[in-house]
Each structure stands twice: as structure tokens, then as C-alpha cells.
Subunit: 134 residues, 4 copies
């Protein structure tokens, strides 16, 4: 698995005093970006130069514990499924090294920009995803 | 169903040029807030004075079409399930009155703040939810 | 002046119970987008097709009153200054039609993408800005 | 000065491909939270237990360079002014250790919650602020 460290910030919370639910998806995406950077797929050049799109087509999350400003989180990223043209990432949010406080799942599809259709995952991307497969 | 009108704004998008996926959850929550206000449950007094919490314990979304800055959306809110202490809302995002561009689902649980446990939905809340039941 | 109506949403607030300061800039930008759309400069086509950039080079805000989830705001947009290649917009946030709760100012510069330098405001943009000049 | 490290994330950008201006205020606030934690003023307990409020009453920023997803930033925090009941923080955003890409300034006032009026800065807060005074 890939591990990303983060901290809940004030702007992630709302007036109820806790993490706003949609922010858990943001935090998970930060971990996804870190993972992608770590395997050589930094987003800025990908977006500018690439002939591919990699949209998220489905996302879901469970919110297990209330999260406060300043909470230190470890986000563990795993490849739950690697299909032909898509893959599913699972994220586990762990507070203080021991307490699972939430989970996220995102499904990504590789699209050829020009033809607008899904295509098989590039072999090098597939290989990298397999390093964090469960 | 309850209907909420909104517009995709620049800050909802990211450098890939389209709506950032987590923002679809925000837009759905805006619709939820509008619905709650419409049935007499404005958030500010609820949060300040209430002996209840109504956290979201699960959320999921499907992203069907790319969304651009300026897109006009109608968000339709329906109560998909009304349980004893929880309820599930379904949101359908419709562009230009005809095109379904995404869906969201959120699961809410009513908690008694003092005892920290789920309790039965208040009868008046249940009744209001039933007006948007499928 | 141009007038934009909005509502403070839960995700605009933070755990202190009030609008998170940076969100006031977002709300002002929503008003700016509405104004630009109203004069024929919708952002999505502008970003995709245009040979121009219109970055914000300076922004400032005063936060006069605490804002709560559900507060109805009218944002008044005025052109405070129209220069050769830049213009300054001023925004006044008014709650419930009478109470000024905050102000924002943004400075925009027109840039030619290809040469990367500021250029004179297009006559039609200047003309439209003059309709909301103080 | 106090130094905070961060990375521009995809959700900080917009469809124009660059950091959305209001996000620079968020990033600065993250640095402020880190500083406050480092001097013993973590936000979560402050908000819950404190008899004080410390709202931002003014903020401004200059946007000097376009920022991309993945850009590594060092945010330097300095106390520009320490008054009787208020203080001003200045933030300098530096990319790759050498390039100043933006600045932010925030003005904070200490308020007694019960009486709703500004009060003199607590001596221990003043002392800590002086450690990052220019």
C-alpha cells in the first residue's frame, strides 16, 4: 500500500464542529495525487500534455468517527481492483496510527481524449498499480 | 421530490477543466440544506440549539458526464429509504432540464448528543421526508 | 452596479461556527462570474477558446460581521477603477437587504496568452465595465 | 519566522489550469494553524473551550506567479505588527526554495466572547508572536 500523511485543517470542518463529509473525498484525492506523483504521473504535465483522461466515475465513503481540526491522519491507499480499462482505489483513514476513522473508494477509467472512449490501461500504469494491490 | 437550482462555478472545477468530483457532493449537500430549510430545519439554529446530531455516515456518487463552469443544474432530491433512526436521500443532477449528468446518495443517522446514540426519527421529520419519498 | 444573490452554505463555514474568511472571496468570485456571464463573457468558452488570460493579481477583504449558515446575501458588484490593461472590482455583501456584512476588492489584468504580456482592455469589455462604474 | 511546507493540490486549481485565487488564503491559513499549534494554541480545543474569539477582520493577497498542481511551496509566516488587541501576520509563498510566488496578509483581533468586545492580547500569545516578529 501507499501511505499519505495529512492533518485536518479548519477549512475542512463546518459549523457543526467536525470534518464536512465531502472533505473526506478531497483528503483521499490528495493521497491519490501523492501516489500518482510517486509513480511518475504528476498531474500538471499529465493534464497539459497527455492524450489521456483519467476521470473518476464513481466514489463512495463511510464516515466512522467525528474528525476535528488538527487531527493527524494516515491515509492508506490500495488498489482494490485492476480491470482492463479501469481501476478501483480504496483508502483507509487512520488517526493517531491506530484508529480507523473512515474509508473512501474511487473508480477511475482511462479514456483516449481524441476518440472519447475507454482504452486498456497502459502497461506501466498497471504495473505500478499492482505494487499497491491488496 | 424537492428541486434545487444551482450553477457550476469556477471554484467547483479543477485544472482538468471539469467539475472536481468531490464538488458534486457539495452541490448535493446544498440541495439537502435547501430542502431542510424548506421543511423548517434551518441548519444554523439546529446546530446551535439542538440536542440532536444528524451526521452523514455514508455517501456515494456516480459521475456520468463532464460538467463545465456555468452549467445550469437542477438537483432533484428524493427520500430513497426512511428507516427507524436513519434515512437515505438520493440526488439526481439534471443539466438543461433534460440530461442526467450525475447522481449522489447520502445516508443520515439521528443521534442524541447527550447519550451519543442513535434514536428514532422525530415524527415531524419523518412526515416531511415522506413528502419526497419515491 | 450588478447584483448577485446567494446563501451561505454549511461548507462555507468552519468549526468556529461562522463563514471561513477565504470563502468570502469565493462568494465574491461567484458574483463576478455572474456579472461576466451577464455581459457575454461566460467562463467556460473564455478559458477554452480565448487568446487572453484575465488573472486576479490582488485581492482584499474586510470582514465586518459574523456570517452563519443560511444567511441570505446580496452581493453588489461595482467597477471601482478601469485602467488601460486592468480593472478593479468592489463587492459589498449585504445581509437581509440592509446590513453591510463585508467587502471584497479584486484587481484583474488582461494578458495576451501568446506574448505573456498585459494588453489594453478590449473596447467591448471596457464598455460593459463602465455600466457598473461608480 | 515560522515555516510551513505544502503542495498545491488539484482541488486548489480551477479550469483555467492554475491555483484559484481564494485558495492562496486557505494555504496561508493552513500555515497560520501550523504556527498556532506550534506555540500551544491548537484550534480544536481553542474553539471548544475558550472564552475568546480570534476572528480575521481583514485579509489581502498579491498573486505574483501562476501556480500549478504539484508545486511545492514554503510558506513563511511573520508577525508584521503586534498591537494592543490585534496583530497582523504576513505570509510569503516561496516555490522551490527560491521563487516568491505570492504574499498574503491577515489581521486578527482578540475578542472576549461574553462581552463581545476586543481585549488586550494575552501576554503568552504576545510573547509567542514576538518570536516571529520582523
Amino acid at each position: 500500500m501507499f501511505v499519505h500523511q495529512t492533518t485536518v485543517r479548519l477549512h475542512n470542518t463546518d459549523a457543526a464542529g467536525l470534518l464536512f463529509f465531502a472533505e473526506q473525498f478531497r483528503l483521499a484525492h490528495d493521497a491519490y495525487e501523492s501516489f500518482m506523483e510517486s509513480i511518475g504521473y504528476a498531474f500538471a504535465p499529465l493534464i497539459r500534455r497527455s492524450e489521456y483522461l483519467l476521470p473518476i466515475v464513481h466514489a463512495e465513503a463511510d464516515f466512522l468517527k467525528p474528525l476535528l481540526t488538527g487531527d493527524r491522519l494516515e491515509i492508506q491507499v490500495r488498489a482494490e481492483k485492476i480491470g482492463d480499462s479501469s481501476f478501483t482505489l480504496g483508502y483507509t483513514l487512520v488517526r493517531n496510527g491506530t484508529e480507523t476513522v473512515g474509508t473512501v473508494r474511487t473508480v477511475h477509467v482511462l479514456i483516449n481524449k481524441r476518440i472519447g472512449e475507454s482504452i486498456s490501461l497502459l502497461p506501466e500504469l498497471r504495473e505500478k498499480l499492482e505494487t499497491i494491490a491488496q
